[in-house]
Symmetry: C2
Subunit: 190 residues, 2 copies
């Protein structure tokens, strides 16, 4: 147990398997700001760990270089707040590796919750998920997709779906960085 | 009046006058993702207009090129959702120009609300500002700073300050993109 608002929660940003705009399953590229922005949001709400997930070796090396830059030497001295956030980041090949790592770290059942822009049957509300996370009996992994969103094959493997962010305008094409920030705030912000 | 959740609200992202990490007043550079992410968040919540403010001619030209790319020709066809969001963007030299433009567009008093990470006396709560915006008698401009935040000289010129985003961890170094998303959701998301 932890006293941090989101201490029973980790995040995973998946670069595969996700859709492109033609609904083909692709591997997207790691981007600098996905690492920084989501790490800073994760740190703000007290998230346990932020997994950056890609099967591509070179992309993992790039992500490691970015996080190392701010954790060692010049970057760490220049901006310790970034170091503080980026130490939550773990770069890893696949969702199975995330689950394995979480199982090692938390001696509790791991529940996987997919996020996305589509309405799906049986989705948890923010209140329901916040309550489950507060109970602290299980550790919750919130999974975010890059590109045009997580593939359907991934939805077949998870425990829960979180309801999409709706604001009543009919437009819900937030960046994954903005969506992650809003979801953390809805779950743990008050 | 409008039926959009944030129809009585505009946003301004200021690249001057803002602090750098040494608390010197500087002009920051326009970044691609500040334009995209905040435009997409603004569109999601039905914000009236999103002003990108910089006194530097070349930086305004860059911002105009980015928004034009997605509004005309190839970019608009490739991703109409971006076009939809970026048409809210107006690139402009200074806060006075923003106020002048807003006065032309809205025949109502304009109220300027500064956002930031510091606690300041007399700050409005999210509930208070949401209520004011819903009343629709005045148009509200939410001002965001880049770099290390809006300068004190700017705070002397505004009508209200919005309370910072606090999550109980003592860390509040969100990116401006994430902060804008969370603030819009707190004000208009439910």
């Amino acid at each position: 147990m932890t006293s941090l608002p989101a201490g029973n929660v980790s995040l995973a940003l998946l670069h595969y398997p996700v859709y492109n705009k033609h609904r083909e399953i692709v591997t997207t590229a790691v981007t600098n700001l996905d690492l920084h922005d989501i790490a800073r949001s994760a740190r703000t709400y007290g998230v346990s760990r932020y997994y950056v997930v890609t099967p591509v070796v070179e992309q993992r090396a790039l992500a490691e270089r970015i996080t190392a830059h701010w954790q060692e030497g010049w970057g760490a001295t220049y901006n310790p707040k970034r170091q503080d956030a980026l130490q939550l980041v773990k770069v890893i090949p696949a969702l199975d590796d995330v689950l394995h790592d979480l199982q090692q770290r938390h001696d509790r059942r791991i529940r996987v919750v997919a996020t996305g822009a589509l309405q799906r049957p049986g989705a948890l509300s923010y209140q329901e998920l916040a309550k489950l996370c507060r109970q602290g009996e299980e550790h919750y992994l919130l999974v975010f997709g890059t590109g045009w969103g997580l593939s359907d094959e991934l939805f077949a493997r998870i425990d829960h779906v979180l309801e999409p962010i709706e604001a009543g305008t009919g437009y819900n094409h937030l960046s994954v960085r903005s969506a992650a920030a809003i979801i953390l705030d809805r779950l743990f912000g008050r």
